[in-house]
C-alpha cells in the first residue's frame, strides 16, 4: 500500500529537481554565450580604439592597458610595435577575426584585423575572464539549487494542508467503534470528500438499521419464544402424571428437546444482550466470592439432582466488571461443568489473585476435551465431537461464545486444560482486576 502524500511529494520533488537543474544549467550556458559575445565586442572596441590612436599619433602606439590585455602590430611577420607585456615574444594570429591563442602558458582570446600597413591584434586573457564569469554565473544560479530544500518543505506543508480533510476523515473512521453507525461528521468537508462522506453515511445508516434489526430480532424472537416454551414445559409436566406417557421414549425425547430449546433461547437472549455495547459499558465493583456463591446457589437444585458435589474455594476478591457479562460467562462455565460432569461427579471452583489479574478456575471430573478440540471450542455453534461424547448432553454451543464475548468486553483470557486434581476439564478464566471503561 503506498501513501498518497508520499507519492505526490516524490513526483513533485523529481519535477522540481530536474526543472531547477535544467534551468540552472541552461542559464549557465546562456550566460557563457553572452559573456563570449561581450568579450568579442570588447576586443573589437579596443581594436577600434587602437586603430584610432594609430591614425592620430603616427604608427607607434603605447596604450596602457591592464595586464590582461595585450596588442601587437605586425607586418610581414615582424612586430612593429606591441604593448609592454607582449613585446618580447612574437606570435601570430593564425587568421583574421576571433581566435583562441596560447601565449606564455595562458589561453587568450584574440582579435586581429588587417589595417593599413599591417595587422593589429588585440588579445585578452581568456581563462581569468571566464573564471570570474563562471564564479558570477554560479553565484547567480546557485540560489536555484539552494531553494530546493526550502521548496520541498513548502510542498510538504502544502500536501499536508491539502490532504487534511482526508486525514481527518481517516482519523474519524479509525477511532469509531465497530458498532457505531452514527453518521460521520467532518467540519468543513471539501467538495470532493462531501460526496464520499455522503455515500458512506448512507451505507452506515443502512448497516446500522440492519444491525439494530438483528439485535432486536434475536431478543424479540427469544422473548416471544419464552411463552410457548413455558406452555410446553407445563404441558409436559402435566402429561407426566400418567406413567404410561412419561415412560414412553418419545415423551422423553420431547422433554429433552424442549429443555434444549429453552436453553438455546436463553443463550441467544444473553448473547444478544452481551452484544449490546451500550449496555456493556457500565462497570461496578463486584465481590467474586458473592457472585459465584449466588450463581452456584441458584444452580444447586440441578447439581443436587445429578448428585454432584461442588465446592467454591475463594477468598474476598473484588473485581471491576460488568455484572451482566460476568455473570453470564460464569454461569455458562458452571453450566457446562454441571452438564458434562457425570452424575456423582465433582466440580471445583476456585479464585486466585495473580498480580493485577484474577484467575477463576472451574474444574470437573467429567470427560474433558481432547487437546486438538480445545481451540475450536470457542467457535459459535461448534460442539465437541458433534455431541457424540459420552455425557449424552446436547449443548447449544452458544455458551462459550458468551464467555468469549465477556472476555472481549473485559480484556480477559481463557485457557482450557486437563484438570490435575479432578481429571476432567479445567477452564481458567483470567480477568484484569481493574477493567478500563
Amino acid at each position: 500500500m503506498y501513501s498518497l502524500s508520499r507519492l505526490v511529494f516524490s513526483l513533485l520533488m523529481v519535477v522540481l529537481v530536474i526543472g531547477n537543474f535544467y534551468a540552472a544549467f541552461s542559464g549557465y550556458r546562456q550566460g557563457l554565450d553572452i559573456a563570449e559575445d561581450m568579450l568579442a565586442e570588447r576586443l573589437r572596441q579596443k581594436h577600434q580604439l587602437l586603430v584610432g590612436e594609430m591614425q592620430e599619433h603616427g604608427v607607434e602606439v603605447d596604450h596602457p592597458f591592464v595586464e590582461e590585455t595585450l596588442y601587437q602590430f605586425y607586418k610581414h611577420d615582424e612586430v612593429q610595435f606591441a604593448s609592454k607585456n607582449a613585446k618580447e615574444s612574437i606570435w601570430l594570429a593564425p587568421q583574421p577575426g576571433l581566435n583562441f591563442v596560447a601565449f606564455e602558458g595562458y589561453r587568450w582570446r584574440s582579435y586581429s584585423v588587417d589595417v593599413e600597413g599591417g595587422t593589429l591584434l588585440v588579445a585578452e586573457r581568456y581563462d581569468t575572464y571566464i573564471n570570474v564569469l563562471e564564479k558570477l554565473l554560479v553565484s547567480a544560479v546557485l540560489p536555484l539549487v539552494w531553494m530546493i530544500p526550502l521548496i520541498a518543505i513548502a510542498i510538504l506543508l502544502i500536501i499536508r494542508i491539502g490532504l487534511k480533510p482526508l486525514t481527518n476523515m481517516a482519523k474519524a473512521l479509525s477511532t469509531r467503534s465497530d458498532t457505531d453507525f452514527s453518521p460521520i461528521v467532518i467540519e468543513r468537508p471539501t467538495r470532493e470528500l462531501a460526496v464520499v462522506i455522503q455515500s458512506l453515511n448512507h451505507l452506515l445508516a443502512k448497516l446500522g438499521a440492519a444491525f439494530d434489526r438483528e439485535q432486536r430480532f434475536a431478543s424479540y424472537a427469544a422473548h416471544e419464544l419464552r411463552s410457548p416454551v413455558t406452555s410446553m414445559k407445563l404441558s409436559l409436566h402435566n402429561l407426566a402424571t400418567s406413567p404410561l406417557l412419561s415412560e414412553n421414549s418419545s415423551y422423553q425425547t420431547l422433554q429433552l428437546n424442549v429443555e434444549r430449546m429453552q436453553n438455546t433461547i436463553e443463550q441467544l437472549l444473553l448473547l444478544a444482550k452481551i452484544g449490546d455495547e451500550q449496555a456493556m459499558a457500565s462497570r461496578e465493583s463486584l465481590s467474586l466470592q458473592d457472585v459465584l456463591a449466588e450463581l452456584i446457589a441458584g444452580m444447586y437444585s440441578r447439581i443436587e439432582t445429578r448428585q454432584q458435589s461442588i465446592e467454591l474455594c475463594s477468598d474476598e476478591h473484588h473485581l471491576t466488571a460488568n455484572r451482566f457479562a460476568l455473570e453470564g460467562a460464569l454461569s455458562n462455565l458452571l453450566d457446562n461443568a454441571i452438564k458434562y460432569t457425570p452424575p456423582g461427579g465433582q466440580i471445583l471452583v476456585s479464585v486466585k489473585q495473580r498480580h493485577q489479574a484474577i484467575d477463576i478456575v472451574v474444574e470437573d471430573s467429567g470427560p474433558g476435551i481432547p487437546g486438538q478440540d480445545r481451540a475450536r471450542v470457542f467457535e459459535r455453534f461448534y460442539r465437541v465431537g458433534a455431541d457424540r461424547h459420552n455425557s449424552g448432553v446436547k449443548g447449544t454451543g452458544l455458551g462459550l461464545s458468551i464467555v468469549a464475548q465477556c472476555l472481549f468486553i473485559h480484556g480477559g483470557d481463557i485457557q482450557l486444560s486437563r484438570s490435575d486434581t479432578l481429571g476432567g476439564l479445567c477452564v481458567r478464566m483470567t480477568l484484569p482486576q481493574e477493567v478500563k471503561v
Binding site: R226, K233, N238, T241, A293, A297, Y300, S301, E311, L312
Partner: protein, 226 residues
C-alpha cells in the same frame, strides 16, 4: 393453617399457559380461577377472594404491574406471585417494590411454581400457627423454641434467625452473604466467622445432616430430611 382448599387466581393472557397451570394446580388440590386480562382480574379478585394471585406481567390491556398497584392501593393483602418473560433485574425489583411476594421468570418448572406457592402458604400459615415445620424439626417463631422430635429446647436469637431463614427457603441454597443479611437485625456486627460458630451450635441441636453445607457457597436444609 386453612382447612378449606386454597384458592388461587391465575392472571395470564397466554391461554395454553393458563390452562396448563390450572391443570397442574388443580391436581395439587388448589381451587383455580383464571383471568386473561388485567381488568377482569381486578373484578374477579373482589368476589373470588383468592388466597394467592399468580400474575403475569405482560397482559394485553393493562400491565401486570398496574394490576398489582391497583390491588395494593385497594389495601388487598393477598399474596401475589409474579410471572414474567422479562427476566431483567429492573422488572424484578419494580415488581417486588410494588408489593409482589415472589417472582418467577418464564420459562419455569412446574415444580418450582408449586414450591414457591408452598413457601408463600407457609409464610401465610405462620401468621396463624407460628410454627415452621420440616421433618422432625419444628421452630416456634412466637415462643422462640426449637422442637426436634419430642424434645423442646432453647435456641439463641442468632441461631433462631439462621434456622428461620433456612426454613423459609427450603429447596434453596442460602449463601453466607444472604444469611448474614438475614440475621443482621439480631446482631449489628456479624462476621462470616460468627455465622459458622452459630451454625455449629445449631447443628448440635438438630438431627444429623439437617443443614447441608455447600463448601464456599452456603447452606441449605437437606431435602432428604423432609
Amino acid at each position: 393453617m386453612h382447612n378449606a382448599p386454597m384458592k388461587i387466581l391465575i392472571v395470564e393472557d397466554d391461554l395454553s399457559i393458563a390452562e396448563q397451570i390450572s391443570l397442574a394446580l388443580s391436581a395439587e388440590h388448589f381451587v383455580i380461577e383464571v383471568s386473561n386480562t388485567g381488568i377482569d382480574a381486578i373484578k374477579l379478585e373482589r368476589y373470588f377472594e383468592p388466597d394467592l394471585v399468580i400474575l403475569d406481567l405482560g397482559l394485553p390491556d393493562i400491565d401486570g404491574t398496574e394490576v398489582l398497584a391497583k390491588l395494593r392501593a385497594a389495601k388487598k393483602t393477598v399474596p401475589v406471585l409474579v410471572l414474567t418473560a422479562r427476566a431483567d433485574i429492573e422488572s424484578k425489583v419494580s415488581a417486588l417494590d410494588l408489593g409482589a411476594d415472589d417472582y418467577l421468570a418464564k420459562p419455569f418448572e412446574m415444580l418450582e411454581l408449586v414450591a414457591r406457592i408452598r413457601a408463600i402458604t407457609r409464610r401465610m400459615g405462620q401468621a396463624v400457627s407460628s410454627v415452621m415445620e420440616y421433618g422432625d424439626v419444628a421452630l416456634d417463631t412466637a415462643a422462640h423454641t426449637l422442637k426436634v422430635g419430642d424434645v423442646t429446647m432453647d435456641i439463641s436469637p442468632r441461631e433462631f434467625a439462621i434456622l428461620r431463614d433456612l426454613l423459609q427457603n427450603i429447596g434453596r441454597v442460602r449463601t453466607r452473604a444472604s444469611l448474614e443479611e438475614a440475621i443482621y437485625s439480631w446482631d449489628k456486627e456479624v462476621s462470616s466467622n460468627a455465622i459458622e460458630v452459630h451454625l455449629s451450635h445449631l447443628r448440635k441441636k438438630l438431627p444429623k445432616d439437617f443443614i447441608k453445607t455447600i463448601r464456599g457457597v452456603g447452606y441449605t436444609v437437606n431435602s432428604q430430611q423432609g
